[in-house]
Amino acid sequence: MQIYLPIAEVSVNIFLLLGLGGLVGVLSGMFGVGGGFLMTPLLFMIGIPPAVAVATEANQIVASSFSGVLAHLKRKTVDIKMGIVLLIGGLVGATIGVWVFKYLKSIGQVELLVTISYVVFLGLIGSLMFVESLNAIRKSKKPGARPRKKRHNWIHGLPFKMRFRTSGLYISVIPPLLVGLSVGILAAIMGVGGGFIMVPAMIYLLGMPTKVVVGTSLFQIIFVTAFTTLSHATQTFTVDAVLAVILLTGGVIGAQIGARIGVKLKAEQLRILLAIMVLAMSFKLATDLLLMPSELYSIGAGDH
């Protein structure tokens, strides 16, 4: 069954969109990532104009992360206090990021920089997580081996300490604020919710338990993507409501399923799966840069 999208001005198969939304929703619920870094290229592939894909994707992520957060709230795996601290940093970061983005655009080649930063960040985070979770799985297989105690490092020496009960942490607010800030900057430049950077940062930098990380990341993503949706709707007019509704119908259902799968998996299994996905995406983008494209030319919007 075909449906015509009023803003994208193309006709697409409704079941294909539902399926895509569902698939990305499952990943979102499982890993706490918005899924924008997967969905946006997929939408390009089925012929949605890039500007519409990016803006509409943000709107869809609002729905799937909200659905995911509700599922996590019932399991008490959302650290709202931590989420708010991250969000404050994130919104400041996003504002700086938008400014950096405009500056990069004025000197040209912003698209290239975005792709390179994707490759570098995805590759780095993916490899780190992969190695770490592989080690964790090996250790847990040895009988008698006990998980390491929480490390005490320089992070615990910083002032303005705060108790994050859900995460079982008593740390300074400075590291989460900085994490939120840097993710906010990157998210604005790269045009994504930033979950795939936020999740590893919370696990490795802040030392939060993996189960709490997913819900907290989703909590934070709702606000960032709602902000993005609103700015695209008012500035670029590229949010396609029909496309968003179809994608999010699939997405919210997927997110519920994903959250349930996530609970059943072990923390290190969850991390290794996310690592593989992030690495695969990084590899795909790297080959796009290095291999000769089959079509050298592309037709852009006529506004330049």
């Binding site: 069954m1 075909q2 449906i3 015509y4 009023p6 803003i7 001005e9 193309v10 006709s11 012929g47 709107n59 869809q60 609002v62 729905a63 799937s64 992360s65 909200f66 659905s67 995911g68 957060v69 509700l70 599922a71 019932k74 080649q109 698209e111 290239l112 709602a226 949706t229 609103l230 695209h232 709707a233 008012t234 007019f237 949010v239 409501a241 029909v242 968003a244 509704v245 999010l248 119908t249 919210v252 259902i253 997110a255 519920q256 796009d288 840069l289 290095l290 291999l291 000769m292 494209p293 079509e295 050298l296 030319y297 592309s298 037709i299 852009g300 919007a301 006529g302 506004d303 330049h304």
Partner: protein, 255 residues
Amino acid sequence: MIRAFTLLLAVFAAPLAAQETVVVDLSQNRVAITANYAGSEIFVFGAVKREAPLADDIAPLDVAIVVEGPLEHTTVRKKSKTLGIWVNDESVEFAEAPSFFTVASTGPLDEILTDGDRRDFAIGLDYVVRRQANEDPDIDMQAFSEAVTRIRVKNGLYSEREGIVNLTAETLFDASIQLPANLVEGDYTARIYLIRDRNIVADASVGIKVRKEGLERWLYNLAQEQALLYGLLSIFVALVAGYGASEIFRLLQRR
């Protein structure tokens, strides 16, 4: 020499041309894009009106029908290899390239028409992208305009369908024109040319209005005119859907 000959022919053909006119109509002058729009078909039909009977030695009649979407400013970018990676490099702006273009004819275009006429009247894929914008001698403009055509042929937006116009007794003709699902709103035109001996002897043009309707129209207008409300509404719908799915799943799990 050949040019002088064709000129001479044109002079002789002139009184002939005045004798024939074309009458055309379309199965529909409006295309409504609704939510379930998945492409449509327009039937072009017409007749040749003559003031006097045809001469016995007159060349056979040919018909070409061009259906064209609104002309748009189009930017084309080309990737090239810089420091080992493929990046967007040169770009060319075309002042006028139609969003949709199809030409139907009774025979091969390069046989029934002269290249000059095909260029002047934009009949055929090789003349569809008008080269009017930033002319740069260092850039191969031809390659860029060919790229637009190639990409749009692949997307089903441009096509050339020779031999699909039915011509009956040199008087009645008809053709069915397919409009794709990824159609853009705007004022389309259908141009019809009668051709004899590689010369255009008569032509006519009819407008086709392509418009969004119903829900599509309403959403499009809302997004353009009340952007803030539209954005807030989009977020609200997203939150409601997220909540709805969560509740439904909770009810399902209780059982």
